[in-house]
Symmetry: C2
Subunit: 339 residues, 2 copies
Amino acid sequence: MAKSSITINDIARELNVAPSTVSRALNNSPKISDFTKQKIIEKAEKLGYNLNMVASSLSRSRTNTIGVVIPFLNNFFYSEVINGIEEIAYNKGYRILVAQTKDSFDKEKEILRTMSATRVDGVIACLSSETTTTDHLRSFSAGGIPMVLFDRVRFDFSCRKVVIDNYSAMQQSVSHLARSGYKNIAHLGGPSSCNIYSEHAKAFKDTLKKAGLPLLPQFHLSTNLTEEDIAEAVGIWLNAEIKPDAIITANSHAALVVSKLIREQKLSIPEEIALTSLTCEPALHFVEPQITSIELPGGDTGRTSMTYLLNEIEHGEQKNDTTIKPFQLIIRNSSFRNK
Amino acid sequence: MAKSSITINDIARELNVAPSTVSRALNNSPKISDFTKQKIIEKAEKLGYNLNMVASSLSRSRTNTIGVVIPFLNNFFYSEVINGIEEIAYNKGYRILVAQTKDSFDKEKEILRTMSATRVDGVIACLSSETTTTDHLRSFSAGGIPMVLFDRVRFDFSCRKVVIDNYSAMQQSVSHLARSGYKNIAHLGGPSSCNIYSEHAKAFKDTLKKAGLPLLPQFHLSTNLTEEDIAEAVGIWLNAEIKPDAIITANSHAALVVSKLIREQKLSIPEEIALTSLTCEPALHFVEPQITSIELPGGDTGRTSMTYLLNEIEHGEQKNDTTIKPFQLIIRNSSFRNK
DNA sequence: ACTATATGTGCAAGCGTTTGCATTATATTT
DNA sequence: AAATATAATGCAAACGCTTGCACATATAGT
C-alpha cells in the first residue's frame, strides 16, 4: 500500500556509485571520503530518503528496540518507570515498545511471544498479578533475548531484577502508625501469589508482633484489590464490634476507594481511623485529608533496569542478582492525630 | 548477541522439503497437504521455531504494526483511547507501538521519523500542544503511510480526523452552571493554538452571551495549564473584588488543582464557588465534593480511529473528513447548590 | 488411452541493508 | 623507480522470509 519509497539503490544509481558506498556514507563510515559523503547525503536529502529499519534490522540482526511489558499503561508508577527507561534508552539509540498485560497471564505470554518474533534486543518486564509460573519466561529466554524483571518478579527465574523494598515499606508504615498511637491496624493486601504482596504480608505480621500490637486475622486480608473486594472488606471492618483504627492499603487506588468509603460512613480521617497507602499517585494529594503513602522511585527503577539490560545486550553480562530500591514514606494528614 | 535461532530453512532441511513449503505450511496455505502441514508444524514446535517478524515484514513490505502517538502515557483519556485501538487492532492481527511526545513538537517530529523508518503500516496521532504547523505530517505522509488524527488535530492537514465535540462540551457546561444560578463564570483554558482550546474559548464566549451573562476578560484565560499557571490565575481570581462564582477548567488535572486551591482559601464548593471540568479522570470522584465533568468517549474514539485507519490501509480508502464524537456531561456535587 | 484439471511441492528471485573481502587509485617509503 | 602502505570504492553474499511460476503427480472427463 505504501508509496514505493526510495532506497539506497536509487541513490546509488543516480550518483553512479555502489549501494554499499551509499550505505557506508549514510552511516558515516570513516572509509568514505568527505566529498562522496557530502554528495550522497545531499542526494538522499533531496530524494527524501528514509532508512528502512526493517531491512537494516534484518541485516544487522538487531532491532535497537527494547520491549517493555507492564500490567497497565494508566498507572503512575509504571509511567514513571517508562520515563526512566526511555531516558537511558533514547541516549543509547534504542527505542522502546510498550505493551500492557492488563494483569492477564495469557496476555503476558502472548506479548512475550510477539516480542520474541519482533526480535526486540531485550525486554524489561513487570509480571502480571496472575503470573505464578515461569515457563513462558524460560521459553522466551530460549530465544537468547536478555530480560530484566522489575517490581513484580519471580525469583525462580534467573535474570537481573530490580525491586522495591516492600518489606521495609510495610514495616515503616506500621511503625509510623504505631508511633502515632493507632492500635488496631488493618492491612488490605493484594494476592499473595505476587512477591510484592507476600512481602507486605510478612512485614505486616512481623512488625505488629515487634510493636506488641495484636494481629487479628480479620484485619489481615489478601484480596484481588478490585473495587468490590475493597468495598466488601471495608464494609465488614467498619461495621464490626472491633473496628480497625488504621488501614494500610496495598496501593494508592485502594487507598482512594477506602477513603471514600470511610467518608461515606461519616467516620473521620485520621481521628477515628487512619489511612496509609503503600504506593503513590498524585490523586493522593488532592483528597482531603491528603493520604500518607510510600513514594516509589519509579524513574530510578526504570533507569537502573535499562542500564542493566544494556550491559547484558552490549557486553553479554549475565547476572542473577536483585537490586533493591529504596523508597520514602511521606507522612500526610491521613495518619496522625492532632492531639 | 542472540542465540542463533532456528529458521524455516532448518525445518526444511530436517524434513527434506523446500523452505517455501515450510513457509506456506506455517502460514496455513491451502496449497499444502494436511499431512505435510502436520509434519512441519510438529517439527517447528519441537525445534522451538519462532517466526522472524523482521524478515517477514521485509519480505511482505508490511509490518502489521500501527504507531500510536499521544502527548502523555499517564493520562486517563489517552489510555482509554489506546485500549480502544488495541481492541480493534488485536482482532485484525495488528500490534501497536505507542510513543509519547510529552507535548514537545520536536519529540513529535522525531517520533514520526522513526515510525516512518520502522515502516509502521499506519499511524494514529494526537498532536502535541506545541504543534502549530503540519510540515512534519506532510513529510511523513510522503512515505505513503496512512494517518488518522484524533482529539488534537490540525484541519489544514488532509486526513481523517476523530474529535470530541468540544464546542458543545463547553456550551453545556456553561448552560448547566447558568441554570444553577451561577453568574460570574470563569474559564481556565488551554493554549489557543490548539483546536480543542480555541473551540472551548469560542463556545465560552458564545454561550455566555446567549445566556445573557457578563464576559469579564479576566475570567476568560488562555494558559499553558501548568500548576504555576493555575495557581497564579486562581490566586488572582480569588483575591479580586469581583470573584468568579464558578470555574470551568480545561481538563481534570486543572480541576483537581483548582479544587485544592479553593479549599485552601476556605471557600466552599459549590456554595461559594462552583467547579466543573472539561475532561474526566477517576480522581474526580474521590475528592470532596466530587467534581462535575465531561466524560469523553475515549474507547470509542480509539475504536473509530483504528477502524478508519484499517479502511485506509487495507482498502486504500482516502478521506479528509472529521468525525465528531459525542460526550456526556456528568453532574456531580461541585456544581449545584442545595438551596 | 489421451488430453484437460486439480493438487501439492520446489525453484529462485526479491524485500533493502550491511559487511568482509577484493580491487583500484593514490600516497609514502626506500 | 620499484615496492609497499594507505585510502576509497565496488562486488557479492548474507539476513530469513514470501511468492509467482514452473513442475510433477494424480484425478477426472471424453
